[in-house]
């Protein structure tokens, strides 16, 4: 499929640009060695770190070495976890590979995002469809208020309230942590609030647009049952903006769950990025951001392919 290939090549180029951008950005926020070891560090320790991490070389050489490593599947080692004061030692020999650190976190991120979306998509779809099917009725107003609340509620407040209610007061669920199925429920609920609201809003407005179109009258005039009109005729045509929104929200969950991970002590990739930023652990930052960028690009690719399956008029990559 030439289109698929084209999109994949584009994505790889996009990824390389992102990775390079992050690489240079990380080196423009000050001396990495000093940032990491702190203002009180002595010169020998700083020099050791710089030499070990290759920070003394010219920037372009560091970049070439870094990109070369990436292409061979070598993502570098963490400064922090692998740092040694042995002056002659090479960081590579003793450091913890960044890949392992990031890979360790990915399952937790996937689990949280997946459960949150599994809650948000059916709820948001259902709320939106009901609101559109009964415009201006009580159900519609209720959905409007709820979805607005979902979108505008402050995440850490919601998280804390859920903890207070379900963990502290009722004692049904743990306050935080990772490992048991029960651990995922509260953070996933916290994360799901916003996508539920946004999906419901988009579904409602897209469905209202579609239900006003002439083909809906055609379907009704054929004697088609109303549930078929709504679910088969209108929802299918409303699917494009809905899927776009779901893709956006999924991307946001993969990248932006930092706050929730912090509140619930959830060992996801967001927490890793924050910790590494505060320690200026450049290799981890670089790789984490590259991984997140890859995930977002993959989600976008999937959304594009979904368009093509849903809408026969979209000939992706070609002008119709």
């Amino acid at each position: 499929m030439p289109y698929l290939l084209k999109r994949v090549i584009n994505s790889v180029i996009l990824l390389l640009i992102t990775v390079s951008f992050v690489f240079f950005a990380c080196r423009m926020i000050g001396d990495p060695a000093l940032n990491m070891l702190g203002p009180g560090a002595n010169d020998i320790a700083l020099e050791n770190l710089r030499r070990a991490a290759g920070l003394n070389d010219p920037l372009w050489l560091q970049w070439v070495r870094y990109m070369g490593g990436l292409l061979q599947g070598d993502f570098g080692v963490s400064y922090r976890y692998g740092f040694s004061v042995i002056p002659e030692a090479d960081l590579k020999d003793i450091g913890v590979p960044v890949v392992d650190l990031v890979a360790e976190r990915l399952p937790a991120t996937f689990l949280l995002a997946g459960v949150a979306m599994a809650i948000a998509v059916p709820l948001g779809l259902g709320m939106g469809v009901i609101a559109a099917a009964y415009p201006r009725h009580l159900a519609d107003r209720l959905v409007t208020v709820l979805s607005l609340a979902g979108v505008s509620i402050v995440q850490f407040w919601l998280g804390l309230m859920l903890i207070v209610l379900f963990a502290v007061q009722l004692g049904w669920l743990p306050t935080g942590g990772y490992g048991e199925p029960a651990h995922v429920i509260l953070p996933a609920l916290t994360l799901a609030a916003r996508p539920i609201g946004r999906i419901a809003q988009v579904v409602r407005s897209a469905m209202l647009d579609e239900l006003a179109k002439p083909y809906v009258v055609t379907a009704r005039a054929k004697g088609v049952a109303e549930w078929r009109v709504i679910l088969l005729h209108a929802l299918r045509n409303a699917a494009i903006p809905i899927i776009t929104m779901i893709g956006d929200e999924l991307s946001a969950l993969l990248t932006g769950a930092i706050l929730v991970e912090k509140i619930f002590a959830w060992p996801g990739i967001g927490l890793l990025i924050i910790d590494s930023l505060s320690r200026s652990d450049l290799p981890i930052i670089q790789v984490s951001i590259a991984v997140v960028a890859t995930l977002v690009i993959i989600v976008n690719l999937l959304v594009d392919f979904a368009y093509r399956i849903i809408d026969p008029q979209i000939q992706l990559g070609q002008k119709a």
Partner: protein, 614 residues
């Protein structure tokens, strides 16, 4: 005596509004006998659609309800079904089963996400409990019945792969699927080209004869009524103005509204023997003030030579050009001062693109355009912008061509500001003058487009075009979207302004009767080429090109004697203007018929004529 198929009595349908319920229709009564064609005719807002939609309880989906009256359908075994009292479950057995419906917009009446086969099978499975295979078999039969070539292949196609006329046939096939006893057709040909309209009307008539279904045809076009109806109901402002047999209503109209409606319909041949355009009779109070004949000048204002515009069609891996759509091909014409040239043709003939090229809103590929002595294609962008002061445009859709968020004053003075023609309080004075000119009250200047009717909006569009005192106005289907009475007023206004201000018009249109009214000269376009050009008189009295003849023959007329007119039912897909890269069409060769009358004798290669559509 047999009972009527449908009986509507004292119908009143109400809709909610801010000021409480308002009646969409009131006191409407009519009956439909089995197998007859009844036309409900009226202008927009007359309630003609509401009356028909209520028969299927479809008005309730737009918020309406039946407030009073009776609606009954004869159930086939002598019993009557009360359509007002029927619940949703019973209605579903009637919709698509007892009553089928055809809609105005074949482009949007089909669901774009499902195949033709799926959509045809849906009602068969619903009402006839057919299996998928049975439904597919019946669908093929239906497509054959509406004369669609290659029916098996169509079942797998999506709506966007078919032309407008083809889609309308599909909609008709869907309506016929369960052999309904009543077919409701809501403006089934309004959105179609005139030759396709003739085919579809002939098809509906033929299907009535074959299946014996009664037809309720909703239309605004008196000529369609004349061609189709057995019985006529004329509606105005939600009430029945007049009803009766077609002979009665057309030859001896009793109600003043019917008389007025018949008077404003431009009739082909009305202008025979007259050399200059003339205003029409109207229902309106603003009578037309043209005190001198519309005599064209002698100086050439616009000279278009060998204009060619091709749109590349991209495809493949790198988006290279794989073919060209030949939109405008070697088009040459002139417009004199104070003259109206009509460019007529059907959708896709290239007439609008020609207009856009003259304004350089599309860049032509080759050719010369000389306007008022200036070579337009040689001008810099800034000089071109200034040149546009003398050439303004009026568009088809008065809803879309005005900015809904700007007051009318702002929109009318915008060109004056752009060209720095006036400033300060003079701007407002000029706008007021312009509104006087187009017969709009000055108080309207503060209004927004949504507060105006379609005809009023088109007047605003004309006022805006007039603002910089142009020499040429390109009117692209400027009256096509308007009701026929409004259309007459706007046409008269345009002619009045021509007499007063000496404007030239490039009038782009498809309605031959309107064209006959307004033009000095006519150029007929087909597949991007001008196939015939002559004075108005010559072309209507003595059409030479096959296509011109077809176009004229397809226009429905009010003449009841011509009803029997046979129209060819076989569909010939329109030839395609898409050619491979590097294709050069034959050079044009025009034959001179008489002085000023030319007809294309080559240039459309024989292969073009019968080629399949894309």
């Amino acid at each position: 005596m047999n009972k009527p198929l449908v009986n509507v009595e004292g119908l009143r349908v109400e809709f909610p509004s801010k000021r409480g319920a308002i009646a969409g229709v009131q006191d409407v009564s009519f009956t439909i006998e089995p197998g007859e064609i009844i036309c409900i005719v009226g202008e927009s807002g007359s309630g003609k659609s509401v009356s028909a939609y209520t028969l299927m309880q479809l008005t309730k989906f737009s918020g309406g309800w039946v407030a009073d009256g009776q609606l009954t359908l004869e159930s086939g075994n002598g019993n009557e079904i009360d359509l007002r009292a029927a619940d949703e479950a019973q209605m579903r057995t009637i919709r698509g089963n007892e009553i089928g419906m055809i809609f105005q917009e074949p482009m949007t009446a089909l669901n774009p996400s499902y195949t033709i086969g799926w959509q045809l099978a849906e009602s068969l499975q619903q009402h006839r409990d057919m299996s998928r295979e049975e439904a597919a078999g019946r669908s093929v039969e239906l497509l054959k019945q509406v004369r669609i070539p290659e029916p098996e292949r169509r079942l797998k196609q999506y709506p966007h792969e078919l032309s407008g006329g083809m889609r309308q046939r599909i909609v008709i096939a869907m309506a016929l699927a369960c052999e309904p006893r009543l077919l409701i057709a809501d403006e089934p040909t309004t959105a179609l080209d005139v030759t396709v309209q003739a085919e579809i009307l002939a098809l509906i008539r033929k299907l009535r004869d074959e299946t014996g279904a009664a037809v309720l045809l909703i239309t605004h076009d008196m000529a369609v009524v004349a061609q189709m109806a057995d019985q006529v109901v004329v509606m105005q402002n939600g009430r029945v103005a007049e009803d009766g047999s077609v002979e009665q209503v057309l030859t001896d109209p009793q109600h003043p509204y019917t008389q007025a409606l018949l008077a404003v319909v431009p009739k082909l041949g009305d202008m025979a023997g007259k050399t200059l355009p003339e205003p029409m009779e109207t229902v309106a109070t603003t009578d037309c003030r043209i005190d001198k004949p519309l005599q064209p000048g002698s100086r050439v204002l616009l000279d278009v030579r060998h204009l060619t515009k091709r749109f590349p069609i991209r495809g493949g891996w790198l988006g290279r050009t794989v073919a060209n759509a030949h939109a405008v091909e070697d088009v040459t014409f002139r417009i004199l001062e104070n003259e109206t040239l009509s460019l007529v043709g059907e959708s896709g003939s290239g007439k609008s693109v020609t207009g856009l090229c003259i304004l350089r809103l599309e860049r032509p590929d080759s050719g010369e355009i000389t306007f008022d002595g200036q070579d337009l294609l040689a001008l810099s962008d800034e000089d071109m912008r200034l040149a546009r002061r003398d050439m303004q445009m009026i568009f088809q859709d008065p809803y879309g061509s005005l900015n809904p968020h700007m007051s009318l004053l702002e929109q009318v003075i915008e060109p004056l500001r752009n060209f720095r023609l006036e400033a300060g309080s003079a701007l407002e004075d000029r706008a007021a003058e312009l509104f006087d000119r187009v017969h709009l009250p000055r108080a309207f200047l503060r209004r927004h487009p949504s507060e105006l009717s379609g005809g009023q909006r088109q007047r605003v569009a004309i006022a805006r075009a007039l603002a910089p005192k142009p020499k040429l106005i390109i009117a692209d289907e400027a009256v096509s979207a308007l009701d026929v009475s409004i259309q007459a007023e706007v046409l008269n206004l345009m002619m009045e302004l021509q007499a007063e201000m000496g404007i030239s018009y490039l009038f782009i249109g498809h309605d031959m009767a309107v064209v006959e009214r307004v033009s000095h000269r006519v150029a007929v376009m087909y597949l991007g080429r001008i196939v015939e050009t002559a004075t108005r008189e010559q072309i209507f009295a003595n059409p030479q090109h096959e296509y011109t003849k077809t176009l004229l023959a397809a226009v429905p007329t009010l003449d009841l004697a011509h009803r029997a007119q046979k129209w060819e039912l076989a569909t010939k897909p329109p030839p395609s203007p898409i050619h491979p890269v590097g294709y050069e069409p034959d050079p044009v060769h025009f034959e001179k018929v008489t002085e000023g009358h030319f007809v294309l004798r080559s240039g459309l290669s024989p292969a073009d004529e019968g080629k399949d559509g894309p």
